[in-house]
Symmetry: C2
Subunit: 440 residues, 2 copies
Amino acid sequence: MSLELRLDNLFLPEHGIDRAHFDELARDRFPSVHEEIRRQRIEGRLGFYELPDGGDLVDSILQFAEGAGQAFENVVVLGIGGSALGAISLRSALLGPWWNEMSSEEREFYPKLYILDNIDPDTIGPFLRRLDLNSTLFNVVSKSGGTAETAAQFLIVRSMLEAELGDGYRRHLVFTTDSEHGVLRSIAREEGIAALPVPENVGGRFSVLSAVGLLPAALVGIDIAQLLAGARSMRERCDAQMLDGNPAALLASALYLADANLGARIHVMMPYSDRLRDVAFWFRQLWAESLGKGSGEGEPAVGPTPVAALGATDQHSQLQLYAQGPFDKLIVFLTVQQSEEDLEIPAAPGDHDALAYLPGHTLGELLRTEAEATQEALAHGHRPSLAIDFPKMGAHELGEFFMLCQIATVYAGALYGVNPLDQPGVELSKRLVREKLSGP
Amino acid sequence: MSLELRLDNLFLPEHGIDRAHFDELARDRFPSVHEEIRRQRIEGRLGFYELPDGGDLVDSILQFAEGAGQAFENVVVLGIGGSALGAISLRSALLGPWWNEMSSEEREFYPKLYILDNIDPDTIGPFLRRLDLNSTLFNVVSKSGGTAETAAQFLIVRSMLEAELGDGYRRHLVFTTDSEHGVLRSIAREEGIAALPVPENVGGRFSVLSAVGLLPAALVGIDIAQLLAGARSMRERCDAQMLDGNPAALLASALYLADANLGARIHVMMPYSDRLRDVAFWFRQLWAESLGKGSGEGEPAVGPTPVAALGATDQHSQLQLYAQGPFDKLIVFLTVQQSEEDLEIPAAPGDHDALAYLPGHTLGELLRTEAEATQEALAHGHRPSLAIDFPKMGAHELGEFFMLCQIATVYAGALYGVNPLDQPGVELSKRLVREKLSGP
């Protein structure tokens, strides 16, 4: 059983995608896009493709995690953006929302996992004050090694560790950074701190299946072998040269055509699953930072705006807009067909007709029924959507999903005519911060 | 000290708002909008305006909370959409992110606060299994009383409570619902369960300053008197008939003109404060559900798409798109000028020029500098934004902000020509759910 894409609500009259345009893209454009991506992959520019093959790195991660996972009560990731979103997704999707509130026994003695992906002192101050440094491992994640926010966090943590633990502080740190360059790599060498590599040809937002995501996952007992196996199986499906059989090509083409032909420039990812909420935020970075940019000298700026929503919750927040607002959105529904557990809804006290349709059903049924009903209601108003069904929520399925979205992103880059691997637009803000803090 | 709106980056050449259009709106349209809203308020259609006056209800909330707040270790809100987002915002903004992980002593013996705003059995199952029902108060919140998700949660919880506590289960429930109508009100009467009212003229998304938000807040020791005082002071500022002196009018007009004149239909709210992240999600409901709708028979659908972002984190996720993508966004930056605490960034080990600009500064300075730098960088690319500065993060300031956004929403409804109080677009999906579950 693997992830399934459903296009039944995509080709609608009036505001849906025109099947003829889709077929035209499949016939005339996709073959060259597929070939271009294959070429870039062979040239070694798309390192994320090869990460699921694992190899030595995975063995060393597992080895490190086995020792450290048992030695520490807390794992704290210091990272931001692509250095944090993968670990956050893995935690939410596979450990659930209550992990850090569970007892050691309930966690089967795996550590708690915290990810600090901002620099708000009102978050970090109380957190560090309450933390037992003796039983905590800090994983500092920055490919370049120079990310301002992560560096600031690291300097604070390093100083606290050294003050409390003396020379032994090194054993409470592990870096994930470029294998050769950058400040973190230098400090690792100088201070004798453990460090795992980020491959040179893997950018932050494509790094979830590198040590960036795998180390935190392994430390809390997530089955990273299954995660990688899932990614490999999706990669194989996406080797298909025919668009119709290639899930990543279908996803990229649907979203691209919604934008290019319908003006639906807002791409909503709406899981009906709490566990996938943070995964939608992972996608939001991948999609926005890869595709939102000028397409070249003098050409217009392009880029869809990804929005993360959550079903059923956002039916009581965003659905009114999705159902009756402008025709500027394509919604990607994510559903999980089989929850880990379920709860039956009992009868109401007394005799209340208004609630009579609920008892006897389960919460899981209600959730899935709401997802179906919302897709149907939108289609009824000629509002297109597509759906990705997870047979269940596990490491294999999540690995499939990560790879699906990453391949879809490089296809979409080719369709939009932009380089999905760079992010030149964030440099000015970084330079201004350095200038302001360096003083006159 | 109160909230301050800054418009310095709004009137920019090329892609900014044209000062002449703004002045024209202030002169020609705003007086009638202001008058129309004043009329609706006098007619009693906009009940949220009067909530800050508190009165008897606030006394009874405080009384109830004083007893219950001490008797229970956990407060669990069952609600969705407008019945949850206010309480979530209040918790995040005023208690911080670690409240539920703190010990009783650290919480000064106030209860933990959980808000279950979805029906995912993989969230609710493990939560209820771990919960000590004996020390838990459930606040069931639904104005209509018939919200499917909340009703389903309630039936499950009620049945568990009765099984474990027998007749005493009633003391573990308090409803917040319509004062006369609906299933919850009937059950409250029949079963003798405590129930607080939601005024008839206050809709879910405008209810944060009613018992919907105030009861959970009071139960965990939030200063609701200050919250209401802040709301009153903002309401007074928004009585101003001149647009220039009326913060809600400035906010509504800037966002409306961005959409109407520039095609910037995506309205990003981007706090540089972890505590305000959920507040941006509260705004997201208010703005989307109030403004996203057909403006009348045969007229085109309108409605901006609100997006919640978080600084500095999303500089590493969304900024690339905001800085170089299409000119379809207006960003509202929220900053907090004085954090509760701060952390100084110490020197790096060894001699690393790349990090030399950080030591000696604090995390708070870095965060505020990044907010400034990002606004400047966007303005440099002719991308407009506006800013709302919180002098600090407290109940008074949050009350001001809630009222600011609520008044801005009804102004915006008038500018867009839609009824900001209804949500007809969600009905079809609800009906389909009932039909599917009722069976043939």
